[in-house]
């Protein structure tokens, strides 16, 4: 089991390559995403996560379909999302889709929940954007109930009630997938993650490090407040955005046109300003290593680091080269360096095997094969 997981997350955008004028077809982009994930597995990364979008220019509208297809062609890679929309998806359907994925992958998966940032998705799926936060709370409580309880009797405000509902298939080994709650800017999400003792993932791109620092500090403090352990034992994940070439100036020169045209970056602050103000790192592998190691200075020892490497129209070949550099030069050093000085009571990165072992330990006094682990008692009571 590893202390930290390193991987990549994709938005799944279809952006014109500004250097060639070429835009991939949706078909090409989906196939390229699969190649990227397979390469991540091959170079020894731990995690691949896909976004969920319901509008062009994005392709990943059906994450579990994509993840199951990738899982079938990879060995070690843990498949996840970044994020699954807890607001507009039916939580019962989320439970079903990810339960099947969990069985297919033998537990090599987890899930990251978010609210989404595209307003019209709410009305498209019959939801009210203004109720985004109460929807998040209710939907997640229902998702927990469906995963944690064998027979669910439930009534809420935003969905038809359930009487005598049982999820099929039940979670693998009776252990539901690990849940991360992700946020770019909403501090409410730190509260939700802390309340349940789930993981908190800070997007950590586009925004300055000081913002991430505040959000993570808040989550850690509230995690302890709700009695899940010490602040240092909270489960933290971070995003990051990198572009590398062996020679630092080559990286800057090559990435600049992509940066200048990227939907999220372009036409505002310069590449230099953005790399100074936010965790975006464009340079040599050594620079990426140093920058990434510095994240620990402001969030503490953490569990998961995901990099964005494939957006803004970068060609597949370039993305695969980035993965080579990550796998060969960056991640091995990060694993070694992050392990130094890491206190023994900081939890390892969550995995299915780890959760099963923990549940067995905690349930040793009780029935050994109880469907719900003792750590879920609070959540059952709360649902």
């Amino acid at each position: 089991m590893s202390q930290m997981q390193f991987g990549i997350f994709t938005v799944g955008d279809l952006t014109r390559d500004p250097t060639t004028g070429k835009t991939l077809s949706e078909h090409e982009r989906i196939k390229a995403t699969v190649e990227i994930a397979k390469k991540a597995d091959e170079v020894g990364l731990d995690v691949f996560a896909t976004g969920e979008h319901h509008n062009p220019p994005f392709v990943p509208s059906s994450p579990t379909t994509l993840l199951a297809y990738i899982a079938a062609q990879t060995e070690h890679l843990l498949l996840s999302t970044s994020t699954t929309l807890i607001t507009t998806n039916d939580p019962v359907k989320i439970a079903e889709d990810f339960s099947v994925l969990q069985h297919l992958t033998d537990g090599r998966m987890d899930i990251m929940l978010g609210r989404g940032n595209t307003g019209p998705v709410y009305p498209w799926f019959g939801k009210d954007l203004r109720a985004a936060i109460p929807l998040t709370v209710e939907n997640y409580a229902l998702l927990r109930a469906v995963w944690d309880e064998e027979i669910v009797n439930w009534e809420g405000k935003y969905r038809s009630p359930l009487q005598g509902f049982t999820l099929a298939p039940r979670p693998l080994d009776g252990i539901p997938p690990f849940v991360w709650h992700a946020s770019i800017r909403s501090p409410e999400i730190t509260e939700l993650a802390a309340y349940y003792g789930d993981g908190f993932f800070a997007n950590h791109i586009f925004w300055p490090a000081s913002h991430t620092q505040q959000m993570v500090a808040r989550y850690r403090e509230r995690f302890a407040h709700y009695g899940h352990g010490t602040p240092e034992q909270a489960i933290v994940g971070l995003g990051g955005h990198v572009f590398m070439r062996p020679n630092s100036q080559d990286a800057v020169d090559e990435f600049r046109p992509y940066f200048d045209e990227a939907p999220v970056y372009g036409h505002g602050p310069t590449l230099e300003e953005f790399t100074a103000d936010t965790p975006l790192t464009v340079g040599s592998p050594q620079q990426v290593i140093e920058r990434t190691l510095s994240f620990r200075d402001y969030v503490g020892d953490y569990q998961r680091q995901l990099f964005l490497v494939d957006h803004a129209g970068l060609p597949l070949k370039t993305v695969l080269e980035q993965l080579d550099l990550l796998g060969e030069e960056v991640v091995p050093v990060l694993r070694k360096e992050f392990a130094i000085g890491r206190p023994a009571d900081v939890p390892d990165a969550p995995t299915h095997a780890g959760l099963v072992a923990k549940a067995r330990e905690e349930g040793a006094d009780e029935a050994p094969h109880d469907e719900s682990s003792s750590e879920n008692t609070d959540q059952e009571a709360s649902a």
């Binding site: 936060i133 709370v137 800017r185 409410e188």
Partner: protein, 201 residues
């Protein structure tokens, strides 16, 4: 100590908008005799690029964040804009668009505007006052509009007298409101979240 932030949206240097802001600030100070009053001046021209960057990226630069802190932490605000196209200037509006939401909550605000002719004076009542009300500020009842000609007029109804009356009204409001507690960003949202989670139990 009382801190009154002065935000001025003039684009030229020297600017008649800044001139009006300075005269208002001076008059307010005169109405607070013997008090320790700080009046930091924020020239929006100096943060123009940072304001647009913040609109595009969603977060302020370190420099702009300091300016936000100055405004949000003040006890009162004097806000002056040039009148452009029957409204406040775009830069003036943009600054308040990127200022974090609760910054002006409960804050006494003295509004003023400048323009080429007095025909634009209702910009105070039709643009500025509603915007600051929307931001939950407490807008002082007397606002000041200065057209170019006003900088020469004298006697009853002169700019001097209007500035003095506006300053007096603003200081009355400021005193009535008392020392201001800076609103915590996201406090309402986090309170609501705790309530929602509490309801699950």
């Amino acid at each position: 100590m009382t801190t009154i932030a002065v935000v001025t949206g003039g684009l030229r240097e020297p600017s008649s908008t800044r001139l009006l802001a300075d005269r208002l600030a001076g008059a307010v100070r005169d109405h607070l005799p013997g008090q320790d009053v700080q009046m930091p001046v924020i020239e929006l021209r100096h943060v123009g690029r940072a304001v647009v960057d913040a609109m595009l990226t969603g977060f302020p630069s370190a420099e702009l964040e300091q300016v936000f802190d100055t405004v949000a932490g003040a006890d009162g605000l004097i806000a002056v804009t040039p009148a452009f196209n029957a409204s406040f200037s775009g830069l003036f509006k943009s600054f308040f668009d990127v200022l974090p939401e609760p910054s002006l909550q409960d804050m006494p605000v003295l509004i003023a505007a400048t323009g080429g002719t007095e025909r634009h004076s209702l910009v105070l009542e039709h643009a500025m006052r509603p915007m600051f009300s929307y931001l939950h500020a407490v807008v002082s009842p007397i606002a000041v509009y200065a057209a170019t000609d006003d900088f020469a007029g004298a006697g009853a109804g002169s700019l001097d007298q209007r500035i003095d009356r506006a300053a007096a009204a603003f200081v009355r409001l400021l005193s009535a409101c008392g020392p201001r507690e800076r609103p915590q960003e996201y406090a309402a949202e986090l309170g609501e979240m705790e309530r929602l989670l509490g309801d699950l139990k």
